[in-house]
Subunit: 347 residues, 2 copies
DNA sequence: CTGAAAGCGCTTACAG
DNA sequence: CTGAAAGCGCTTACAG
């Protein structure tokens, strides 16, 4: 069905080497020859076969991007940033998702190696050095997010949650909050753990009373059930810090169901600033993680590292910032504190 | 850096043909030979090069999926359905987005042809037959969504919006609504046009008063500005049908800002049931389009069509259903009608 | 059950 | 500026 470069060559009365050169604009070609070749290419609607090209050149034009699942609203912007950057430089991307499935994790790595990618951005916390040693062993560069320091063939991007968290805590302190709770992400997720620790440390430092720290699982329903536990306790915090926006949105739902008003009774703060955070009701105050930027940097990190003679990894940092919306407000009464809230709810 | 099949062959003391056979489980192999080969493969961490394989076999194991933009919440479930189905059958997918950019549309088609895909699912309305004739000309199967009837090498999946829309209209009629408005998607989007027509026809048939039909652009902010126009008019409809959930969410925001309560003053209905529809406040009543299913069917359509001797396309249908949530309720007063609403708002 | 050889469709020194 | 030829790393009839 589809034509080959030899066919084009014959019809244009040149060698296939010439056709290749015309198509890749890699040599100067006699104008007349070029015209003839291009003419035949158009007539035949010829397209070169990328697999043959990849095999012949030996240099891969592919980069991998691995995420956990496509339906997680954390990823779209990240994918877009990575892809845009890759395409701009003439590279292509192989998008892989692990779906939180260990079999898939293995097959994804395999697919990446077989695909002869130059480098891969591992943007899911469910994969770490041990899971990717096969990649580096094959000479493929890797960039992680929130993993340890860089080394040969592995770079790292640290998201500076500290900064956004400090801003958030300062914000609620200014508003007059004294009693906080934390609904963190899953224990087995390294990013979730980093966030939880930063949250707890920051809250302690500012001397807020931490009435509860519970783990959850980054899903909406988990945020909801975590909140039900909080609501059942004798004392309600006046502000709830959530490990991500999904948890926060679930928490807001559950609070609403329990008849707790946001932000009048309880303030809620999320992390990420997913696209729907501002559509939540009330709009969610959250710590923005610049995810499109994260994707861009991930690509640049790989690209740069692979140009280094020693393939030495680099450490990158990405700042976060608080975005104040309407889910945070002063607690009901500064004087009454949370005991006062209890009283009022009892009426 | 990475090893080749020949290396494995030499070390295992066999020919590369044998290595190939062992790895592809395509022939019976002497157990001892197989063991030896596998052993060397493990030692060397050998992975076969997929580009060489694709070139040698000539049969592509790739399918394309083209969407408009990854950050549109309509697509994640669709992608997941398509990808899952492809992987289950041992195929791989090339995800391409046009980003509503005509240059990108061209380069995406080119990339697909160069990638030698077997078939491609065009799931964005911004591409139609004329944009994809190159694909079919190259013998590549195509499946569209909401485009005309099937033909050679092109299948089509029609989403039966009629059904969900009929349910929705019945729902609001039962609730007692008489005055409706429609905020449709963009005029140049064939799916948006189909939906608008179905909406208007259905509303007329049930004799509802259609106070306004405005076009919008499928984005949140567009829904918002469309609503501002409606609110400025002398009479407010009691129910607003939106071309998709994003428009509906924007509309709800703008209504809220205008001091119009949902659903007490105005009911709102969306289309799609994106994952955040139920997190909107109030949760959005919407017409669900089973998008993961759409992805699955799209793949099956391609796969089946390409097995047919004549490569004859097939027509598929996908049903939609109303999902009732809290953004719809009886109008303020059946007796007063919308004039009554006007009165009350004037107070 | 296994091997030698041709071939997939390109690219790229090497010559000229 | 252009061509002949080797080679990229596999697969697959064809023999045996």
């Amino acid at each position: 069905m589809s034509h080959t470069m030899s066919e084009v060559a014959t019809r244009a009365g040149v060698s296939k080497a010439t056709v290749s050169r015309v198509l890749n604009r890699t040599h100067t070609i006699a104008p007349e020859t070029e015209r003839r070749v291009l003419e035949v290419v158009r007539q035949l609607k010829y397209h070169k076969n990328v697999h043959a090209r990849r095999l012949a050149t030996g240099r891969s034009d592919l980069f991998g991007l691995v995420i956990s699942e496509i339906i997680n609203p954390y990823f779209p912007e990240l994918i877009r940033g990575f892809q845009a950057e890759a395409w701009d430089r003439g590279f292509d991307v192989l998008l892989c998702n692990t779906e939180y499935n260990s079999q898939r994790r293995v097959s994804v790595i395999q697919k990446l190696i077989e695909g002869d990618v130059r480098g891969v951005a591992i943007m899911t916390a469910s994969l770490d050095r041990s899971g990717t040693s096969e990649l580096t062993a094959a000479g493929i560069g890797v960039v992680f997010c929130n993993l340890g320091p860089a080394e040969r063939l592995v770079s790292n991007i640290s998201i500076d949650y500290q900064r956004g968290i400090a801003q958030a805590i300062e914000h609620v302190v200014q508003l007059g909050h004294r009693h906080a709770a934390v609904i963190a992400g899953p224990e087995d997720n390294r990013t979730a753990v980093i966030i939880k620790q930063a949250l707890v440390a920051g809250l302690n430092e500012r001397k807020l009373i931490l009435s509860a720290v519970v783990n959850s699982n980054y899903r909406v329903d988990a945020g909801a059930s975590a909140v039900r536990a909080l609501v059942a306790a004798p004392e309600l915090p006046t502000v709830i810090f959530c490990g991500n926006d999904l948890i926060a949105m679930g928490a807001m739902n559950a609070l609403e169901e329990a008849g707790v008003r946001i932000p009048e009774d309880v303030s809620v703060i999320g992390i990420d600033d997913i696209s729907f955070a501002f559509l939540a009701r009330p709009p969610l105050t959250t710590i923005r993680v610049p995810r499109e930027r994260l994707g861009t940097i991930a690509f640049q990190a790989l690209d740069k590292m692979l140009q280094l003679k020693r393939r030495k990894g680099v450490d990158y940092y990405l700042e976060t910032d608080l975005v104040i919306r309407r889910s945070t407000a002063p607690p009901r009464s500064r004087e009454l504190g949370s005991a006062g809230l209890l009283l009022e709810r009892a009426r």
